[in-house]
Symmetry: C2
Subunit: 397 residues, 2 copies
């Protein structure tokens, strides 16, 4: 692969350890890595040259929480919720039935279309979960399709106890044959630790079995009310605890003292008319906060990271810089891919020499426009692993 120079960048946010904001900057991509960063005037020559014409360049979004392996329609449930009914987890069964009924080909095509839609808005790394299979064979199939279609896959057999199944029997199945069946495809295990889903004890059992099988841990917690999810996640060293709408002082202290990322899901909060997660309070306590889309058909049917970032700034009190970091580097930290555990080689979520060339050129002079112009399409070009995968008419080269 030849080298590409992106030059005349109006604003370059590195979001790396140095966390620089450069004006009139340039970046050189060599193969799938970033080879050079600096002032446009000092840039080396390259085979190809892209004139950013003063526009802003960011790391591509790292969307660390999605549920893309599904079929079926839940528009009616959304309409009912907007008419005032409250969300209950039961809607997942509708998706489970439709997902089980879909062919492999159809599910794979749906995942591919959803990943394409995410990339079109600047997402360059996307995690996705199982959790609409809920039996051994269906979870294994979902895990295989997730791993093939997204950048990494998470086992969420413990999404819901299927109706008519004894919860303890189901937990044993999740921890035994189901975990064995998905193991070749996934790097993470997740559990929905919430009233109506899995208790703290059941969640601990699932997470402990998953850790013993060599998987990294994630938790859905504290979405619908106060509970044990956050503290359990921190105690077990989970990489991330996601939702965090209800955060007690004890939860906050635990997060601040631990290394678990708190991942907030602004589009889900709006789509369920839930209280927005207290991202400002988490940041002020020194917690690493990530933003993800939670794209799923029940509670957050969007993969638009720009929408999530705009919401975080306009409604959660984050600065643009904080929101961009949360949607890039903090997502990478939540996936253990920020490079902090190695020499940074191939790290994602930040722009630094040796990191993966996952880049997002905005059709705007600064990242501030992501919040300043909500709803406007601001993605001009996207490079993923050094390859230009999205470009719009206005991104002339």
């Amino acid at each position: 692969m030849s080298a590409t120079l992106i030059t005349r960048i109006g604003e370059l946010m590195t979001v790396d350890d140095e966390d620089r904001v450069l004006r009139d900057a340039a970046v050189v991509i060599d193969g799938d890595r970033i080879a050079w960063i600096g002032a446009a005037a000092e840039a080396p020559a390259a085979d190809d040259r892209v004139d950013a014409d003063g526009r802003a360049l960011l790391p591509g979004w790292v969307d660390s929480h999605t549920h893309l392996v599904f079929d079926g329609d839940r528009t009616a449930e959304f309409e009912a919720r907007m008419a005032g009914q409250s969300y209950v987890a039961g809607g997942i069964a509708v998706t489970r039935d439709a997902t089980r009924a879909a062919s492999d080909e159809r599910l794979s095509a749906l995942v591919a279309a959803r990943v394409r839609a995410a990339r079109a808005q600047g997402t360059t790394w996307i995690e996705t979960k199982t959790g609409y299979g809920l039996d051994v064979a269906s979870e294994a199939r979902s895990a295989r399709i997730a791993a093939a279609g997204a950048d990494e896959a998470t086992f969420l057999g413990a999404h819901l106890v299927p109706a008519g199944v004894d919860p303890d029997d189901y937990v044993r199945e999740v921890c035994g044959p189901m975990l064995d069946a998905v193991r070749p495809f996934v790097s993470w295990a997740d559990v929905f630790c919430e009233r109506g889903a899995f208790t703290a004890e059941q969640s601990r059992e699932v997470l402990t079995a998953a850790a013993a099988a060599g998987l990294g841990l994630r938790v859905h917690g504290n979405q619908l009310g106060h509970g044990d999810g956050i503290r359990l996640a921190v105690e077990l060293g989970a990489a991330s605890v996601d939702h965090c709408n209800f955060v007690s002082d004890a939860d906050l202290d635990a997060l601040a003292a631990g290394s678990t990322v708190a991942t907030v899901l602004p589009a889900c909060d709006l789509s369920t008319r839930a209280p927005l997660a207290p991202a400002r309070r988490l940041l002020d306590a020194g917690v690493e906060v990530a933003i993800a889309s939670n794209c799923n058909p029940g509670t957050s049917y969007t993969s638009s990271m720009p929408f999530c970032v705009a919401t975080a700034v306009l409604q959660m009190g984050l600065s643009v810089h904080e929101a961009v970091r949360a949607a890039t580097r903090a997502g990478a930290i939540a996936l253990g891919r920020d490079g902090s555990k190695g020499d940074g080689d191939g790290a994602i979520g930040s722009i630094a020499v040796g990191h993966r060339a996952d880049l997002h050129l905005l059709d705007a002079p600064s990242a501030t426009h992501l919040a300043y112009r909500p709803g406007m399409p601001l993605t001009a070009a996207v490079w993923r692993g050094g390859r230009l995968v999205v470009t719009t008419e206005s991104a002339s080269s």
Copy 2:
């Protein structure tokens, strides 16, 4: 112009007097008008045929409140506001200086680009205002450029009293030479009736002069606090009073008893972190509520009507049907173009035989997806006056 049949429409919302939601429907466009509506199975033949493939067809958005004639950058002001400073009207002066300094060609090109961006998201009719000129020559030029670039133009000389100018002198100028100079280009006059801008008495003076000159009336009112704007607008028979963030019981009674539309501006509310306008309460009182973008560089730098509609549903408590009506037909009512004052010929904002063929095909099976999938690009095709002006790859014909 030849006739076009749009068929296999999954959901057709007419938003006309009959307010029908049709399944498996079809529409025939003949010239710039809608010639036929009915069941797909009964559709007549036409020269061209577009297969909607089960997708939803709505009237194009009617954006009844924008400020597109401007130059200059106010990113820093937005950033300051997000950092906790409150909005004061003074920022308008920054835009005034840059707008005055721009050439006619540049201003016209900026307006054209902004109108194109709005159309790309389904807006088929757009009003825009002067108000960044603030002297006779600059307002006249802005009015000329507004009228040429948008579908109709509003005189907003009374946007702000320029610093160093006596308010009463300025009002006299607005009501005299400025009104005369803009008169050939505009059909409406508007006034910013708000503490820090124009008092009720000054606003009345401006509106009375404008009405005497044959202009329709609009008011910016009750944005920053309680005040006289709403009641003045109703008393003078203004077509619309816009913002309405602070609505007293007396205001509500006045609106309910009068014929003035209450236009809410959700993107502005979010962008200024203001309390969302009480659209639900207004609708429940029987007030006609319109949704507009208020696209402007200070307080709402977006023309995304899908974003506004999603916000109205997710955060203001409107049903999708109510929000769609507010962003189409109610906008037309706010501009006196819904056809209610004539035989409906050429009316906008609804889908009925004889109305203008302003149509918005969604890349989704129902309008609900506008709120269910916030931030996702859902415009598949747009017809304006019968002409296909926007189409995306996925809108195959």
